[in-house]
Amino acid sequence: MKTLDRKLWRDLWQMKGQVFAITLVIMSGVATFIMFITTMDSLDYTRNKFYRDYNFAEAFVHLRRAPESLIEKIKEVEGVRQAETRIVAQVKLDISGFNEPVNARIISIPDSGTPLLNGLYIRRGSFPDPNKDNEVIISENFAEAHNLKIGDQIAAIISGKWKKMTICGVALSPEFILLMKPEAMSPDFKRYGILWMNRKALSEAYDMDGAFNSVVLTLQPQARLSDVLRAIDNVVGKYGGFGAYGRNDQISHRLLSEEFKQLKTSSKIFPSIFIFVSAFLLNVVMSRTINTQREQIAALKAFGYNNYDIGVHYAKLVLLIIAAGLISGIACGIWFGHLLGDIYMAVYRFPFLVYILKPWVIVAAVFVSIISALAGTLHTLWRAAKQPPAEAMRPEPPAQYKVSLMEKMGLGRKITQPSKIIIRNIERKPIRTLLSVIGIALACGTMIASGFFKDAVDYMINVQFVLSQKEDMSVAFFDLTSRRAAYELKQIDGVRYVEPYRIVPVKFINGHRSYKTVIKGMEPDSRLQQLLDTNLNKVALPSSGLMLTDHLAKILKVRPGDKITVEVLEGSRATREVTVVALVKQYLGVTGYMDLSSLNRLMNTGDAISGAYLSTDLNKQEKLFREFIKTPRVSGTVVRKHEITNFYEIQAKGMLFFTFIATLMACFISFGVVYNNARIAFSERSRELSSLRVLGYTRGEISYILLGELALITFIAIPVGFALGYWLCAYLAYALASDLFRVPLVISSGTFSMAALVVLVSASVSGLIVRHKLDHLDLVEVLKTRE
């Protein structure tokens, strides 16, 4: 080993505390970057592989009923490559040991086994026996939620008749990677499942012999999706088509895509913060190291080392620190990526998760870290290299100071000398102070951003499930029903109050903008469903006209008073012009709202309803569930309380993991920044502080000078961090907004306090470490050495 390299290792060892702190920050940046990117790549790759291997359809259409022969016409549509018909039945299940009605969708599979499109990955068991009419495959989440095994029996009401079925297999499908009821707010694996049954058996049970009600398609490579969809709609229109749609409107696919978008945003924001902080820390530490080694540098140059040798020597020091951060960061990132992948796998059902680490991710991490670190230290390296030896040999003159601005303004008259030292030090190095403030503020901001997710979810839930929805449960009917059904519900023991609703699937069209969703028809002065304006005040439902979710109005570019076209996607498939009369604030989903009678008039269907909201006697809820399981007309129930729990359960794991990581990282940043500041301030000031100790200052008094400066920087940084955090959250809210949900910009005081606390604690820890050093200052040494 060259002697200069030996010096390198010893220098590293000497500043091990600082090296460790910087390594932590670089590690955090690299780890979060790799974690987010690899998780996204892995999910994306796995999804694509699953789609490809199991032939996931590219277009979908549901209809009331069409004869099997129609498939030929569908196949003739230009752009269609493959098409497969199937039967999809909405059923209600009775699971023994579970006292609530369970909704399920039974999908037919060819008697010969695996479907052409949307193939099944059989996790356990096998395809149904073609000779038996009662065997079903069930989706994995559902099997796990009820602990169902091969051979277990479940009962279903299909077309009003009870049918007992035996489970023959557990499967996954690319169509239901994320299983969620179309109108639900969050997945509920207990109350919603997918069953697959042989075509013959299902067509008999569902009265669909020789007919189908669902088609899945793939397209020719050059086909335009919108053209194909339009053509398909024309073909199936008169068979009660509900509107063809592509993958982008397919619920599982869409939710996954939203999640990927979120990961992408996070993978940009968080690593950037760390990389900025580590570049700054390296800059501060390197300039200090080089300053203290100026005499050594001069000596080396006097011996004949050239600028290049000196430059390379210190560049190696920087690169070694980065290497430590990179290696540990890559390792942690891969580990975190696996952890995060596992969390996703609990909700998203893939047959397997292929962990993908693309070489460019590592290259990018290495490249960005090195470039930013060198950019942060280049100036210092350059200064070290070009210093003439004679100049460097001379001791540094006393540092230049000025009376601080604050004192010039007359504020300094009453302050003590130690406080003056603090203020002047801070003012003397404004850039370093500013960067320190930004560094700590970023840590604080990161914490706020992590807490923000929980605050936003709490707020969304409060608005949606507390302020807006007030029913105890809602009941949905299989088919459009007369309003009389609502009166019948009212008669059931345990039901206190009933409010009917109707849901109509529609496509809103304004010029070239369009959006598929539903219109919800509600009672004019609904007690159980409240529409809110942007200030969360109750909005009365006008007797005519349409109200839209504010976000939907944005998508369609309409304002109250504008007329829009409503294309009904069921029954007569009529097209109507309706005036938008007001907007509604809503964080989850996008919907249109109308007065129930007014909606029925628009549909020309008489007094029809598709379900009802109930206020119930909570003690009699179980009895009610049993009643509803038995009632053929009722397809399912949704209990508001369960929706809230589900929402949290699905969000909670990911959120907890993210909050944990972010908190850890924020601690590393604030510790890294404060500790490095403290360490450098200590080495720069230890001589002065020892002198003061000799002059009779106590340990506490000199600690005040050093730690007071750090405390002051920290206290300035916290409100800056609050502002930065708020801005970061605003950006996140903006970047994550989608038609599925809008993240409200709500940050609780608890989140602010927690962020401040984490910063203060990590600052205190670094303070204590430095305080320990201050307590062991060598007082005699200082008298003998010049600076």
Binding site: Q400, V403, Q417, K420, I421, R424
Partner: protein, 245 residues
Amino acid sequence: MTRKKLPAEKTAQIVFHVRDLTKTYRMGEVQVHALRGANMELYESEMVVLLGPSGSGKSTLLNILGGLDTATSGYVAYRDKDLTKATEQELTDYRRFHVGFVFQFYNLISSLTARENVAVVTEIAKDPMPPEDALSLVGLTDRMDHFPAQLSGGEQQRVAIARAISKNPQVLLCDEPTGALDSETGVVVLEALERINRELGTATAIITHNVDIAGMADRVIHLSNGVISEVNINKTKKSPSELHW
């Protein structure tokens, strides 16, 4: 020059009392016997020069007298206070209220002006003089608002002296106060020390290896190899301006 009473006349109070003082410390692998049984006294109002080559133990002695270091064995008392038994806090208080230090390399706080460097001590002292008075005693009235970076070496050392005397200490301990200065500037600094000793009657101990400075002392204590080898009393003191080196 007004003449003070000489300690030899035995009327002055003893400020420091040192008996059989030893100090051993390790320097890497080596045991260093810095003091091997030193005995001495310092009296009120006197000016003593501790003279000796480097390694003679003079700095160690001064550090122990100043409460910066502890003895290995022996006895040191400041008036009635046994410094060998003092706690860390007691030593801090002792330095804070009773001793003034002047260091070879000044040790000023670079972010504070001359006046503020003095104030840093007067703020924590019990009965200090105003910083301005201390600075005028060392002839720096017109440089009070300058920062260390704006002062010459001699001026910086005079600020250090002003800082040391501003608390009205009982003793002034100076460790090679002219060591970093040229002879002309050194004389100015010594004049300041002499004036303080004369006007305020502060007992002053100056460490030096510079034999010429010994001429301005009341007594000269010679150290070699960790023991006091010789004590001379100057019958006639020289004024600093008469010193040359």
